[in-house]
Symmetry: C2
Subunit: 339 residues, 2 copies
């Protein structure tokens, strides 16, 4: 999987990025390509394996999802103003530094953001190209495209909805879960699985089972991410401790805490959620308040119930034993990533 991504990216870097006058672009892209967990390619390939045998072309098709993910991360980091990704400077920060070091005219920050958005655009175009040129036969690919376009639309629309989903606007938990399902959960688990299975020509019965499994695992994945975004260690998340609080993201944990709090604590949370600047002690205090409301326990219960639902659905589905086992492990891994 990783080899297929590396090879495709190396070709693109040599052929195109070398002449863009921005030698930093190839470095940033290569960093992106090696740092990921390849969750989406893995789910896509497991979807394929629900209806077909191991196949190199299908593996390349699946690997293309990692490039699509690079597009999403590159542009999200600009929009969220996230400065750290996978323990290193985010792409827009790296590009801004490149610009500053060369003392080029104009704003380095603006250059950094534009360059990261453009590299994202390239990844969006290249991911579709890699899928198209994967070697998967035309009939199987024809089943992929409508779902693929639907997924990419859902991803961008979800990010759109996320832009107006600020903690200071006090959204409801259902609304937050809906946005994060569209922005992240579906696109991480359900859609790659369904697309892989459709490519393999799976029956609508199998597709329905994978849809239910995928939605539940995607939800669990996103809620685990929300817990880690507040309580996770930077060495695990590759992001600053309490990053979601600093960015005032309206995550499931933040919103559940607000809903569970009594009126005194709610007032304190409200004040923190509306504050422009937070220092480390504010973040610590916020963390303590959240824990005291029982919000983390509530979210952990929700993660458990999603995991249980996913595994039950898996047991009932007409799947090959090895594939069922792999999907079971992936579900647990998504739900239980270590803090």
């Amino acid at each position: 999987m990783q080899a297929a991504i590396d090879e495709f990216i190396a070709d693109r870097c040599t052929e195109h990025l070398a002449c863009a006058g921005v030698d930093a672009a190839a470095d940033v892209l290569r960093d992106f390509a090696v740092g990921g967990k390849c969750l989406r390619p893995t789910f896509m390939y497991l979807g394929w394996r629900c209806g077909a045998d191991d196949d190199h072309a299908a593996l390349r098709a699946a690997a293309s999802f990692e490039l699509l993910h690079a597009f999403a991360l590159l542009q999200d980091d600009v929009m969220d103003g996230s400065t750290i990704r996978r323990g290193k400077p985010a792409a827009h920060v790296a590009f801004a530094r490149w610009h500053r070091e060369r003392e080029l005219p104009g704003s380095s920050d603006r250059f950094g953001e534009s360059a990261a958005v453009l590299l994202g655009d390239l990844c969006l175009v290249w991911s579709a190209q890699m899928l198209r040129e994967s070697g998967v036969d035309a009939k199987a690919l024809a089943r992929v495209w409508p779902r693929y376009d639907e997924m990419r639309t859902e991803l961008a629309i979800g990010q759109f909805a996320d832009l107006v989903n600020d903690a200071g606007a006090f959204p409801a938990l259902d609304q937050v879960l809906d946005v994060s399902r569209r922005k992240s959960g579906n696109y991480t688990v359900r859609r790659p699985l369904e697309i892989g299975a459709a490519m393999a020509g799976c029956s609508s019965r199998v597709l329905a089972s994978l849809g239910t499994y995928g939605e539940a695992v995607g939800d669990a994945f996103q809620m685990r991410d929300d817990v880690l975004g507040i309580f996770g260690s930077p060495t695990v998340t590759g992001k600053p401790a309490g990053g979601d609080l600093i960015e005032r993201k309206a995550t499931s944990v933040v919103v559940a805490a607000y809903q569970l709090a009594d009126s005194t604590v709610r007032g304190q949370l409200k004040e923190l959620m509306s504050r422009r600047d937070l220092d480390e002690s504010d973040v610590d205090r916020w963390r303590g308040l959240i824990l005291a409301t029982g919000a983390v326990d509530r979210i952990e219960q929700m993660i458990d119930s999603r995991l249980k639902r996913a595994l039950e659905r898996l047991d009932a589905a007409p799947l090959d034993t090895a594939v069922r086992a792999a999907l079971g492990s992936m579900a647990s891994a998504c739900a239980e990533r270590a803090a």
Copy 2:
């Protein structure tokens, strides 16, 4: 052509943008869809007509290029900080206003830029979808995709190169022409023509003629745009008078003036090209200096020679008379847009 675009966009707006929680997005997109000159779809369709008869599916395929153009404009305006497009507020400005009027939390400007980039992403995805679902048969489309991916890559790479192409860096004229060919000329004329012709199964001889014609017309188009960007009336360009000077763009006219100037004038130009803020009288003075160098005459000569080359190549190509005449008119229209 316009009807095909309107219909596709209306479907997308109803189905997707309504649930994004940003009602402004559908309005912005509709504005974009009706305001354009449809140059790229026209060239794509004329390319098709070089090898095939009139066809509704091919017309829809060609219309998809207007959505690709919307992607480019939406994101370019953010990167260039252009606030006006086609005589109206640019999309990111309209989105920022929407955010401000609703008194939503967070920065309105940041929201506006993010929303415009995302709407651009959606247009990029939807343009490929519209092409894929145009009704053009699979064999003809298979000839399109490699060239289409190549064009989209070239467009993004050209914009990348443009980011470091600031007037304050005093690039050479050849370099500027090369960047603008990659960023704008090729993608406006040559690539759409070649893609349409490839879709129709034209011979390599016809493709080569269209390539030469397209490159020359694209260059002429871009240089005309550069003249208008400094001397054009806002009612024609839909942008502020002298907009390229205000944005310190390293256009062909700006750079030719610098190269043609004597050392005294060069010093004055250098000072203007490096200045952070320019008022109206600075722009007027800069315009006068450029005219005095003879740069506009030089660029007009270059436009004429490109137009001549394009028409000669057209005469020698094995084309249907009506198609040749249409391509001739388009070449003149691109080279001679009224100031």
